[in-house]
Symmetry: C3
């Protein structure tokens, strides 16, 4: 879990993912020779801050977004949201501008958000939740489990995968925009028919802690029934605990697969959390374990 | 009208169009040798559940969506919408899950929809309106005239068309997503400059029963004036009754033509109905006749 | 400024840009031989009413939309919006239908807009604000400064540019739809990595008259920080006055660059106005001057 702790403490509010991207590249470079299959690595300005790893002969791609929600300073002491953070008075925020490090508290509510930093902050400066990772026997709790856990699962998958794309995308929390060029590149390089979205969803009345990784039958968007049915039939007898989600709202990188000019099936698969988009996102370790297990299992069989 | 009755009784809630697609393919296979021109037929997993028919040298494509609105079971006895069905207490719903056939009634309102089936329904199960087709001298009334009539008109067009694409799309009622890959395939195979959307619109203060097929000048999206003007000038002296629509809301597969990376003009042309997205959609037979007539007329001249 | 006055008096409500496009082509044809570099000109039905000018070896494209907001007649004396015009009782509107010229006044409010023209207007007829250009020592005031000023700046850029695309797009005010095919054509013809959006933004508490052209750090969408930082560092020591904008809402052709299947960085750069989307849009001449200056400066250096 050292990798997970490393990425949990790093900053990558949507639109400013370059430091996270650099860290991932460095990590991949150190680890890749220990992996079962050596991937081809695509990155750099042609991919903005995204990273694509191609293993063997891909049939399926796994997407994990590397950006987080956060805030941006506007004028005076105003803040506006990046993505959809919960607005909770007193939340500790951190960042950096031309004058140095910033530590402050969030003030106000959805209608008017501000900070209490004693000096002005350069307009356009990104702030994120101060990190505080807590682990006990049952749970991990921290800011940005969405989607550090998805990245962790995707990186873990790299160790044993033989065929497939593992892709770290940007901008997912704020309207998207990297998926279209990633999908285009994938389809031109080693095309796929299937995509799995490694991301974190919500605890609801139908999705409970400790019941396993969530297979999402739908969120705001509806993947094709045929593909969900195939995944469910593959999981029979796998021994991996999972639960089904049926939601009316919410979206993921899956939306952009659906809207892409390619006939690619997709499914969102990930652990569920409480306190979504707050500094206290909370995930069951049992569910995370199931998420770690399900990706290699499905990537081999799909 | 036997084909229309056949498709009216079939189930194809968005995301689960495969049975309808299979039926269409079977029907096309039986009929195609009686058509004026033998089309090339594109279908199968590379097109998900969509079907494309290429006749001769296409200049224009006709799109008819084969999916319908409906409901999906969530947890307990909850339902959520697929597409935008009207929520009317007591509406009869049908479907099927792992335990067998389902017949139940809708309960509640927009804020909380549920069903009264005595047992639980598998989460993620699709339900649709129970069908009840009524025809008299003036009207046809049934669930899913939107867009079974569009499919019927498109299939009828196949009998005499010499040049053009006839395309059965999926997902139209729930956010779309098949049009981008259909358009890409069309432009790579036999490109077009024009698209007609064979779908059903609404009776309003300006669009009345028995006044003919509707040419939509706009809905939420605005097609190019030049193209609408060309269609209207072609219709002069055609003898086909039509009326003009100018709406601020609503969308169709035309939206995805507009947003596509191709300079393709588009226009929505179809009959208008009352009781939109209920089990009692109602269309004038005179207007349907005009819709049947206008497609071969325009496809020849555009 | 003769060109600016010419385009200010012309009509091009979204979806009906062909007359404006013809005028631009005529103007370009007259002027191009006086330009530093002779561009390749792309236009015609394959581009709908858009125009692309390719100068030298492009690295960056400038986009200026040529459409405007306005109104469309519906049934009876009703109007509906095209784009997002301010609804102000008594606003003078002009247009033309099959019966001739139309001069009328807007009545009602956002919930129900109508006109007071003594006769009916053909359904689907576009109306725009009556034009009234006012210039004094400090300000220009008129309808449709958004985006006649962007077009003016883009055309002015043509005089000295050596490398780059200058593109006049359509439909920006009403949902977009030309950018996807423009970007596809650009990337297939002479691909770019960077896009500048020449458009007009809003005076706010943080953006004031006479403080220079606005570099937008974000609107509803968030361009990549790396690119904004590069622009800002290029501007150091340029002597061109500029101010930074950080907004939560609003969009531009930049949104479609962001969502495109190409890894193209983008930034919105333009003067700010008061009385947005009214007949009285007002821009500081000093800010317009800075906007005229910044485009050649950046196009040379980016």
């Amino acid at each position: 879990m050292k990798f997970l702790f490393e990425i949990l403490k790093r900053f990558s509010v949507s639109g400013d993912e370059s430091a996270m991207s650099d860290f991932l590249l460095q990590y991949i470079d150190q680890r890749k020779n220990y992996w079962n299959v050596l991937p081809e690595i695509y990155f750099g300005e042609n991919f903005h801050d995204c990273i694509l790893l191609k293993f063997g002969q891909p049939r399926t791609a796994v997407f994990a977004h590397m950006d987080t929600i956060g805030f941006m300073s506007r004028y005076n002491n105003q803040l506006i949201s990046v993505g959809g953070p919960e607005i909770i008075e007193g939340t500790k925020l951190v960042g950096k501008d031309s004058l140095g490090e910033i530590f402050c508290n969030l003030k106000g509510d959805e209608n008017e958000i501000s900070h209490d930093f004693p000096r002005g902050i350069d307009p356009g400066t990104r702030l994120s939740f101060a990190q505080n990772v807590r682990i006990d026997e049952e749970f991990i709790q921290a800011a940005y489990l969405d989607n550090r856990l998805g990245m962790y699962v995707a990186m873990n998958l790299c160790e044993n995968i033989t065929d497939g794309w593992v892709v770290f995308s940007t901008y997912e929390e704020h309207g998207g925009g990297s998926m279209p060029f990633l999908l285009k590149f994938i389809q031109q390089t080693a095309p796929i028919k299937q995509a799995l979205i490694a991301d974190i969803t919500w605890i609801t009345e139908g999705v409970q802690f400790h019941n396993g990784v969530v297979i999402s039958i739908r969120d705001k968007f509806v993947p094709r029934k045929k593909f969900i049915d195939r995944i469910l039939s593959l999981l029979e007898g796998s021994g991996i605990p999972f639960q089904l989600e049926v939601e009316e709202y919410g979206g993921s990188d899956g939306r952009e697969v659906q809207m892409s000019p390619y006939a690619i099936d997709w499914c969102f698969i990930g652990a569920a959390e409480e306190n979504v988009h707050t500094p206290d996102e909370k995930v069951s370790l049992v569910d995370l374990e199931a998420m770690l297990d399900i990706y290699p299992y499905l990537m081999e069989r799909l």
